[in-house]
Symmetry: C2
Subunit: 210 residues, 2 copies
Amino acid sequence: MHDKNISQVVISRLPRYFRYLGDLKDEGKERISSGELSKRMNVTASQIRQDFNHFGGFGQQGYGYNVNYLYDEIGKILGLDKRHNLIIIGAGNLGQALANYMNFERRGFYVRGIFDNKESLIGTKVRDMTVMPVEDLKDFIKENSIDIAVLTLPKQGATGLIDTLVECKISGIWNFAHCDLDVPDSILVENVHLTDSLMKLSFKIHDHNE
Amino acid sequence: MHDKNISQVVISRLPRYFRYLGDLKDEGKERISSGELSKRMNVTASQIRQDFNHFGGFGQQGYGYNVNYLYDEIGKILGLDKRHNLIIIGAGNLGQALANYMNFERRGFYVRGIFDNKESLIGTKVRDMTVMPVEDLKDFIKENSIDIAVLTLPKQGATGLIDTLVECKISGIWNFAHCDLDVPDSILVENVHLTDSLMKLSFKIHDHNE
DNA sequence: TAGATTGTTAATCGATTAACAATC
DNA sequence: TAGATTGTTAATCGATTAACAATC
């Protein structure tokens, strides 16, 4: 269906394309050229065409791209035509916030359970879910065909759980813990390092004012 | 002090170096060579030396790098030797979670106030702060020398606030809203697009299983 | 002094941009 | 058919890696 080994930098641009195409759809726009899209997105038309062509041609010479079609195709590339079952591990502030964030469901990501190892949190309610102890993790993952684990607990807790998640053959980990995870290649990891991001902002501010 | 126009890709590696050096410090390690660090971090020693040398030489031939010194220097490059005053705009789940996340303070980022435009949230308490109406934004920013605004509200709300933030001459915006912000060059923006990140994970999972 | 390891230059690799033939 | 715009190849640019002289 598409080139193997799409570079990380192309992958990271796909959600942005998807977002802009969604906006265009909402505006009722039917077709768009790489030139017009490039102006909106502040990237070169050349890059847009190159990016899309990693996945096969979605456009038509002389016409451009059909907005709805391109939107759907990029959605498929991103796997948004499939359902995903998530669990959140770590029922602290961030875990609760993510559990309550409804927009993920619109994209097919369903939060099925929430876990913690803190006695004080187990049994409490988050959204419509009861926080479960991490001991129940293994059975829950199997019984509910969970494919993504969201890690929203401190470093130590996160690394300690990796073995269990590997055993359960989870497909992906969305890691908010402030550490790099050491997992086999079969498990895909996407890191969200909030502190790193804030530091980058700090750098830019001070770099700019020099 | 350092090259102008450090590339984005180098900047994005700095917080990770900082993190690993912090760990080395905690382990009581005094010196480290680029070779040893490269093994830990899974990058080439060459890249490490190139990256550091954008900011001047921190090492010594035959010795390597002094962990404490290098840690401090990278901290300074990232602006972590300075204090930052933040406000959170958007007191929903995510805004509250960030307000309660204590680790930012360890790095010099202090949350000074929290705002929202929802009647139902204004006046409620988050941590030790009372949620204020966005109308008070302008005065508060000036009186409390706020330099960073954290945007944790929906798209529409976020774009509507940009003019105010520009007027207030805020230095940086940490943007969690699911949109690109159109601001003058004088304001630095760092985006955290959670949905994009989750989509990237989804792509990797499906790409891998093909 | 000899060994180790940096700082830095040169070589390679990959990503972006430009150009244009193909084609709707 | 003529005009527009893609898909794709070629040229450029930038980032990574390799190599090694400088030096602690």
